[in-house]
């Protein structure tokens, strides 16, 4: 299973879905690898409409992930499911969504990463590495935490939380396979340029 390196997580409070849908073709063309549909407190019926609209613009090689809900992932023909730390078990999810789809898991500690080892998701998302407006008041877990999680698991770790293009080299040096971003792309004045710069930062380190 190919694991994407540049993930965008949706947040309707930062970028409303209609604006995001209009932006996405350019973001994908600029090198965005994956989009995670995440929206708390949005009714399921509404989310299904959004998921299907995302499916039309998040095209290969970019992958569409639905957060938490297997039913929405199936109905929108998403490429994968991303589970919160306390979500469904990976094996139950794989049983429902079948082969050929990726399953990710968020973790917020080395202990949680250790628990995830036995259930073998395709990747972990770990954070928040730096301070972020998405989790106000939550102290950064830092690059040391990231390094410890990378050491604890045999699969790729995606770093999240306050990631900027300038921080990408340090994050990759700590062992991260890729990054997941909300405001670093959607909160900027030029999201397409932001994707391009993130892409260069990720690919530049890869070539070394």
């Amino acid at each position: 299973m190919r694991v994407p390196r540049l993930h965008l997580v949706t947040d309707p409070n930062v970028c409303p879905f209609d604006r995001l849908l209009a932006l996405l073709p350019e973001l994908v063309a600029a090198g965005l690898d994956a989009v995670h549909l995440r929206a708390r407190d949005v009714p399921t019926g509404t989310l299904l409409g959004v998921a299907r609209a995302l499916r039309r613009v998040v095209v290969p090689p970019a992958m569409l992930f639905v957060n938490d809900r297997v039913d929405l992932a199936l109905l929108s023909e998403a490429d994968g499911l991303h589970l919160p730390e306390l979500g469904l078990p990976v094996d139950e999810v794989r049983r429902l969504i079948g082969g050929g789809r990726a399953v990710g898991r968020s973790v917020h500690s080395v202990a949680a990463a250790g628990r995830a080892v036995v259930e073998r998701p395709d990747f972990l998302v770990y954070g928040n590495v730096f301070e972020t407006a998405s989790k106000p008041g939550l102290p950064a877990r830092g690059l040391d935490g990231l390094r410890a999680v990378v050491r604890a698991v045999p699969f790729p770790v995606i770093a999240i939380g306050g990631i900027t293009p300038e921080r990408v080299p340090a994050v990759l040096a700590a062992g991260a396979y890729g990054v997941a971003v909300i405001r670093g792309i959607l909160g900027t004045s030029d999201p397409v340029e932001a994707v391009r710069v993130f892409r260069q930062a990720l690919d530049g380190v890869e070539e070394r």
Binding site: T44, G45, L48, D68, V70, D71, L75, L86, G87, L88
Partner: protein, 222 residues
């Protein structure tokens, strides 16, 4: 499981108890459900609106086992994926959840699909889309579901029950004192939260409601 149709489904809808953590006042779901079944509940719905899904899975497995042992219909609210993982007998969706047709696509033919229409038109559409039963309400004013809107009353329920062939249960503010009128309006049963889950003696509350429903059904000649 495809046996939950026809008369068996109607029987299972007599006393339909919906879980609600806030109403249970700290008592675990399994304790509430065990007592409700002992008192005569015929269907249990796991309604999980907040909290991690891993916890819902743990609770759901307990309720799944209790219902299976007692031959009681076990339904999951909104989360079709959770219903599938738990091997529930049914899944229940509302107007802001997944549409009935999409729900049916996911669960296949054997699982019961319930729907809560707000209008007569939605009730007819849901029946055509493959819903097996309808939950209509709130029949009476209720504080348990602040999003449920104003009470729609018995006439609304009667209109829907008369317009569809699938069974209808009333929900919303139903107690042992007003349940008979819901059956007389055309419902095959009553769905309750507070009247059972919020009772000091859950089992006794279920017994009383079940007696009222059974008596009203017998009087109507079913």
């Amino acid at each position: 499981m495809s046996g939950w149709r026809g008369w068996r489904l109607r029987e299972a809808l007599r006393l339909y108890v919906v879980t609600d953590r806030a109403t249970a006042r700290g008592r675990p779901e399994s304790e509430i459900v065990r007592a409700a079944i002992a008192g005569g509940a015929t269907a249990i719905q796991l309604r999980w609106k907040t909290g991690p899904l891993g916890e819902a899975l743990r609770v759901g497995r307990e309720l799944r086992a209790l219902c299976r042992d007692a031959g009681v219909l076990f339904v999951v609210n909104d989360r079709v994926d959770l219903a599938l993982v738990l091997g529930a007998d049914g899944v229940h969706v509302g107007v802001s959840d997944l549409p009935v047709a999409e729900t049916r696509r996911l669960v296949g033919e054997s699982m019961v699909v319930g729907f809560s229409p707000e209008t007569l038109e939605q009730a007819r559409e849901a029946e055509a889309a493959g819903a097996d039963y309808l939950g209509v309400g709130p029949v009476y004013p209720t504080a348990t579901k602040p999003d449920a809107g104003p009470a729609v009353g018995l006439e609304h329920l009667a209109r829907i029950a008369g317009a569809v062939r699938i069974p209808v249960v009333g929900i919303g503010g139903i107690t042992a004192d007003n349940a008979a009128a819901v059956i007389r309006a055309g419902a095959v049963g009553v769905a309750v939260i507070s009247a059972v889950v919020g009772a000091d003696d859950v089992q006794a509350a279920a017994v009383r409601l079940r007696q009222v429903v059974d008596a009203a059904l017998a009087e109507r000649g079913r």
